[in-house]
């Protein structure tokens, strides 16, 4: 154990290993924190929630940071929800029963393109009389535009786009025939053609509540073309969730598969070598038969016919890799170690077979195995991603591979939604590189003969 610790200390000589370690530590922190902040069940529910959960989010929006690289900034997303406390209505009684509630949705719009859509979501509680709402749009240069009125049901959404009267009003206002509502609302009247007027906009909603018990919540959403840290997909889902939750899945899959397959394989090889005879022969034959059973087709078969659970896949991978060709390598090493005089000595002072296998054979080759495990991690991370890309990803859990798969089936690359594929792909590559860099450095530390190569 001390040898292993001092080996880890030697890693400091390799800058690539330090970078790799830092990346791994960050990934680990993300992998640990994500399930705490957003528990598994909640994440699965959100990811599978569909439009009901995601209706305030824009569809296929790029990450917000992509604007840094653009000359004309794409419209950002504005969500102001009174139910979340983003705005407080000012309430004034008008008569015994009737109250007036004034909502004021104010937001900055410093972008160069128009938002694709603006919706006001309204949810009211009432007995007989629906609350009545009047809307006024106030532009940065102080123009006030009547933006329609409606009676709110339990759940009403007001699509500005579909208001033909507003459209005609805006045609008059801007003097441009056939202008769409949204362009009309954001147009700069002092500039030629249709151009965005940047600045602080406000939508005032004045609601009349006719019953003492009734209540009203309004949510104003100006859908953007960019959203958040990671953007959204075709179902308006925030990709951050999948990118974050992909981390623990990838780490768990990669690490568990690498650790469990390596240690069981090593244990079986040690057991076979030590017991010898027919036990060894049987292990050898199983290994040979198993080595011609292809892993991926079996996974695809099980995935298509039975279940695509990521945990089932993990179990299968481990099961099919236990008798992998690694056994042959370990066996060759153990056959040498077995002849060491210290093994004879241990037998002479009465060590049992199990003790010899676990305390004397296996520790001898740990230095060889630790780098191998670390190098093995990415290949299992990639395997999980490959399965997902092939459409065999877990149907519930959002993972990096599934993002790529979704993007692919939605033709993301043809539609120019590069972020959708590049973000999970970059994470996969970064994770793979980090483990590879640390693994190769560990190999040099623990197996010094490589240093000369």
């Amino acid at each position: 154990m001390k040898g292993i610790l001092s080996g880890l200390r030697q890693l400091r000589q390799y800058p690539t290993a330090i970078i790799g370690l830092i990346v791994i530590v960050i990934l680990m922190i993300v992998a640990i924190v994500t399930p705490i902040v957003l528990p598994y069940n909640q994440a699965v529910k959100m990811w599978r929630g569909g439009e009901a959960v995601w209706r305030y989010y824009p569809r296929n929006a790029s990450p917000a940071w992509t604007n840094w690289f653009r000359s004309t900034d794409l419209a950002g997303t504005v969500i102001i929800d009174s139910a979340k406390g983003d705005v407080e209505p000012v309430i004034e009684p008008i008569s015994a029963d009737t109250r007036e509630a004034r909502f004021s949705f104010e937001f900055d719009f410093p972008y160069d393109t128009f938002p694709p859509e603006i919706i006001l979501f309204s949810s009211a509680a009432y007995k007989d009389k629906q609350p009545f709402v009047e809307l006024t749009w106030i532009t940065p240069d102080g123009r006030e535009i009547r933006a329609g009125e409606f009676s709110s049901g339990a759940s009403t959404s007001v699509r500005f786009d579909q208001d033909t009267r507003l459209q005609r009003r805006l045609e008059r206002e801007t003097g441009i025939k056939g202008i769409s509502v949204i362009k009309g609302l954001f147009d700069d009247p002092n500039k030629e053609g249709v151009q965005v007027l940047q600045g602080t906009y406000r939508l005032d909603a004045t609601a009349l509540l006719f019953e003492p018990e009734s209540s009203l919540d309004l949510a104003f959403v100006s859908y953007g073309k960019v959203y958040g840290i990671a953007g959204t997909d075709h179902q308006r889902r925030d990709l951050t969730i999948a990118l974050l939750w992909g981390t623990p899945i990838a780490m768990a899959f990669g690490l568990l598969a690498a650790l469990l397959t390596t240690f069981t394989t090593m244990g079986i090889a040690a057991f076979g070598v030590w017991i010898g005879g027919w036990v060894d022969a049987v292990i050898q034959r199983i290994t040979e038969v198993n080595s011609i059973i292809p892993l991926l087709p079996i996974l695809i078969m099980v995935g298509t016919l039975y279940s695509r659970s990521v945990w089932l896949m993990l179990g299968l991978v481990i099961l099919l890799s236990i008798f992998g060709l690694g056994i042959k390598n370990y066996r060759a090493i153990f056959l040498q170690v077995k002849e060491s005089p210290y093994i004879d000595a241990a037998r002479a002072y009465g060590a049992s077979d199990m003790r010899i296998i676990f305390r004397y054979l296996i520790p001898r080759i740990l230095p060889l195995v630790i780098p191998a495990i670390v190098i093995l991690v990415p290949s299992y991370v990639f395997l999980e991603a490959s399965l997902a890309v092939l459409g065999l990803g877990d149907p519930f859990v959002p993972t990096w591979g599934k993002l790529i798969n979704d993007a692919n089936t939605q033709g993301a690359l043809f539609s120019g939604y590069y972020y959708w594929i590049l973000q999970p792909a970059a994470l996969l590559m970064i994770a793979g590189l980090a483990f590879a860099m640390v693994g190769f450095a560990l190999d040099r530390v623990f197996n010094p003969r490589l240093r000369e190569l």
Binding site: M1, P341, D344, A345, A348, Y349, G350, A351, L366
Partner: protein, 347 residues
């Protein structure tokens, strides 16, 4: 063979039912396999060997490399199964012992190996190395383990203890490594110590120290010691008795001075000529062992196994008949036709 048995049973150092260690007509044959399964004969590494060892006594076993010394010793330790014959140690018959009992049998004999670095697990520090035998043999009390470690390290002169315990084998010199091996062999307080060429891989400068240490331990603990070597020059420090092995068999058996001053077997003579003193400067001088190759143990020569290399070979006798054990002087046995009253002629 049966006629020979009758002869030697008279000598108490060949058979003695009371002795701590009794080697009875021991055969250790390794099966040779063809293509991994077909039978292709035996390596007769130990072929009909018998002697006894009393409590508190040391005995040396000398012979060329490959004559079966390690095989004999590993069988005594219970690491090999006797093909024929038996080893009786402390009233336990090895051939009757199996499983747990065999492990217990093994743990009662201390084992000192040739290559001290190889004999120590490289991933354990001295403390773990010394604790292992005690943990395995059920000494659960930490204080007791600590007490034993302190005592034995004191005895093998590995001090200061606190500095030695955390060290790994590669941090120790060859001599220190061998002291750890000796300490480990002694930690279960065995009655018998088996030392397989314990100094042959050490620097000439520390050989005598290690041999003196072994001798001291033997005397203080009243140990029985089987000391194996291919180098006659180191035996004088040690034992009361000595036997010479050749091709899996004992060719001469005598008291130490008797054998060194008055060797009888032509092979012993040749070995003595070739030996050097352990603390002399000529340790590097190549030791000439009799001309020719040691014989094949798969097909040993007919008659006396030494006859192809023997300068005194008598045709028609030595190459036909196996020599009997002849007691030339009291307690001095030699397996050589030269000393036969009818057939032989003295050298």
């Amino acid at each position: 063979m049966s006629d020979v048995n009758a002869e030697i049973s008279a000598v108490d150092h060949i058979t003695n039912d009371q002795a701590l260690l009794q080697i009875k007509d021991l055969h250790v044959w390794y099966e040779l396999k063809r293509f991994g399964f077909g039978h292709a004969g035996y390596v007769r590494a130990v072929d009909n060997v018998r002697f006894v060892l009393e409590q508190g006594e040391a005995i040396a076993c000398v012979g060329e490399s490959g004559c079966g010394k390690s095989s004999l010793m590993k069988t005594i330790l219970g690491l090999n199964i006797p093909t024929k014959g038996d080893v009786i140690f402390d009233n336990t018959s090895l051939s009757q012992t199996k499983g747990e009992d065999l492990r217990r049998y093994r743990s009662k004999i201390g084992y000192i190996q040739q290559d001290p670095f190889g004999a120590l697990p490289p991933f354990m520090n001295v403390q773990s190395i010394l604790e292992e035998p005690m943990i395995i043999n059920g000494i659960k009390d930490k204080q007791e383990r600590r007490r034993r470690i302190e005592k034995i390290l004191e005895e093998v002169k590995l001090t200061p203890i606190e500095q030695v315990l955390p060290k790994f084998p590669h941090m120790l010199s060859g001599g220190q490594q061998q002291r750890v091996v000796i300490a480990r062999a002694m930690i279960m307080e065995p009655k018998l110590l088996v030392a397989d060429e314990p100094v042959s891989m050490l620097d000439a400068s520390v050989r005598v120290e290690i041999l003196r240490l072994l001798r001291k331990l033997q005397e203080e603990h009243h140990l029985a010691v089987l000391y194996i070597t291919h180098d006659l020059s180191t035996v004088r420090y040690f034992s009361e008795y000595i036997f010479v092995m050749y091709a899996g068999q004992i060719v001469e058996f005598a008291r130490m001075e008797d054998l060194l001053d008055n060797p009888k077997h032509p092979y012993t003579l040749a070995l003595l000529e070739a030996s050097s003193d352990p603390n002399a400067d000529n340790a590097l001088v190549q030791r000439e062992i009799p001309k020719g190759e040691p014989p094949s143990l798969v097909n040993p020569p007919k008659g006396c196994r030494f006859h192809p290399r023997c300068p005194y070979m008598m045709e028609g006798i030595c190459d036909v008949l196996e020599p009997p054990n002849i007691e030339v002087t009291p307690k001095h046995l030699v397996a050589c036709w030269l000393y036969d009253e009818e057939k032989g002629h003295a050298i």
